[in-house]
Amino acid sequence: MSDSVDPMNTPEPIEPLPKPVTSIPSLGKVEPLRSAPKSTILQKIRQSNPASSRIPDEIFRWIILLSAVSVFAIVVLVVWELVDKSRLSLHQFGLHFFYGHDWDPVNDSFGAMPFIYGTLVSSFLALLLAVPLSIGVAVYITEMCPQGLRAIISFLVELLAAIPSVIYGLWGIFVLAPLLRDYVQPFLQKTLGWTGFFGGPMYGLGMLAAGIILAIMVVPVIASITREVMSAVPQNQREAVLALGATRWEMIRVGVLRNARIGIVGGVILGLGRALGETMAVTMVIGNRPEVAKSLFAPGYTMASVIANEFSEATGDMYLSALVEIGLALFIVTLIVNALARLLVWSITGGTARPSA
């Protein structure tokens, strides 16, 4: 408001209409429009404004700016604390930390390979299961679903995202794991055991269970983005492909999915970001054993769950520092993955929260 270009401050009085109509035959003489009396009210407001409102305005601006800066400050603090607290381990192990296999708190020797492996395998397993399902759901909701069911199904899918992860874990331990152990794993071993991925003792808890739980948690993320991107495809596109004689599936494949593919990839990467950082549900079902095993039945360990399990019991600076370094690695990876995903999604939807600046 303090700008110099202020219409209220301009010296000229408001111009009267150029040539007032003075007479209309049927109505007789009409009074010409009078110009406003030198805007006394406006001047009063104008005079009272600078003193009384500029200072509160500035104060308000600063408070608001401060809260916005706090967001920035928090992120900087997170990075600073992670780097600062992991300095010890960064110096001691260097790059070896990321491919070392031994996790031995007693001898202060730490390598994060089993955890990195566990995080990657469980996340990719989750994506393998979740991507076809989420695209299927999104296609069903946007293209096939009867109008009445559409809102209900999309609400239910979003509801999956609202369930706390500790409840997923609880359900995983007491419902999913026994189910896997008694029915799914014997079946997989019989049919696909020769691949080597489905062998060894069947506990129920393990990499497979973690992948399935993660898949359930990631589906709403991917499905909602896919749905959003698919509905951004113009309706003409669909009608044009149908008019060429395509079946409905051909229309979806050629007219919709092909146009939306970058956005869908963005959604998948966003889902990956969620899967990488997920802690509680995975910790509860993965079995928590730091080893690299080929079989998906074997227990594993992830980066997030080793922090959750061992951080509050870590004795010794090196142990703590190694755990924080795992946190730092997790932070950097999710940062990259999320930034990539946002870029891809924005390039399709044009960023709903980002009007042309």
């Binding site: 695209i135 759901v137 706390p164 007491f174 940062l335 009007p355």
Partner: protein, 309 residues
Amino acid sequence: MPWRACWYGASPAELRGQVPNSVPPSTSHQVSLWRRLTDWGATGFAILAAILVLVPLLAIFIYLVIKGVGSINWAFLTQTPKPPGEVGGGMANGIIGTGLILAVASVIGVPLGIGSGIYLAEYGRNRFGDIIRFTADVLNGVPSIVIGITVYSLIVVRQKHFSAFSGGVALGIMMIPTVARATEEMLLMVPNIIREAAYGLGIPRWRTTLSITLRSASAGVITGCMLAFARVAGETAPLLFTAFGNQFWNLKLNQPTAALSLQVFTYAISPYDDWHKQAWAGALILIVLIVVAVAAVRIVTARGTLKGA
């Protein structure tokens, strides 16, 4: 109409009744068998996918209700946990603790979130705003366990003990980006004419923003806050080494506190049958509390805005 039409390549426009149904689907008898089969296959797969996704949701809720309701009793709601291995006891301290932590979280997260949202919408159409917007997205993607580590080394290490306050700070930080982006989106939807009208009446900018712009957008902003609240209410990972958990009553902000989600976690991975039952009950209570809190705020604010209007 559409159920049958669904199965034979009807166009979306046709399904919605925008195209007269009298136009015969002339292609259906000319397309080759293979194309028809893939069409059916794809339709079948999409329906199967929808079912497969909804089955776990239903299973989780059914198990929660069946296993949870049986274990909820008066003792569960009023007593503190018994020592390990003993039958009985409850999670009353966890329920109170969760409330305490969430109160701290809301006090921190909601004002900061709304403030940054206002900045982004009203002042942030520039390079600096873009930076803040990007950092809010970064913060949103930070794994919750990493927030836990940060708050641990910022507050717990300095204070030298675990506390409800630090747990609240961790959850509050997680609320900020969600609230901020929701506020921004809602404020941007308020037409500029309303702001200009307010300025034209000589209302100062801060007053315009707070009692006109923000007020018009209040329904959406409150929804955003509730979403953020529901999201952090069940969080466990950041509380593991901030609020830490407690076997006893605690109402002090600077003492370790029990929380429902923490207790569900500890009980679920314990070897005791009775604790497993209590974990289900705790999980059910957690979900119910979240739903009730969200619904209550909705009802209260709906009345408030009705009165104001």
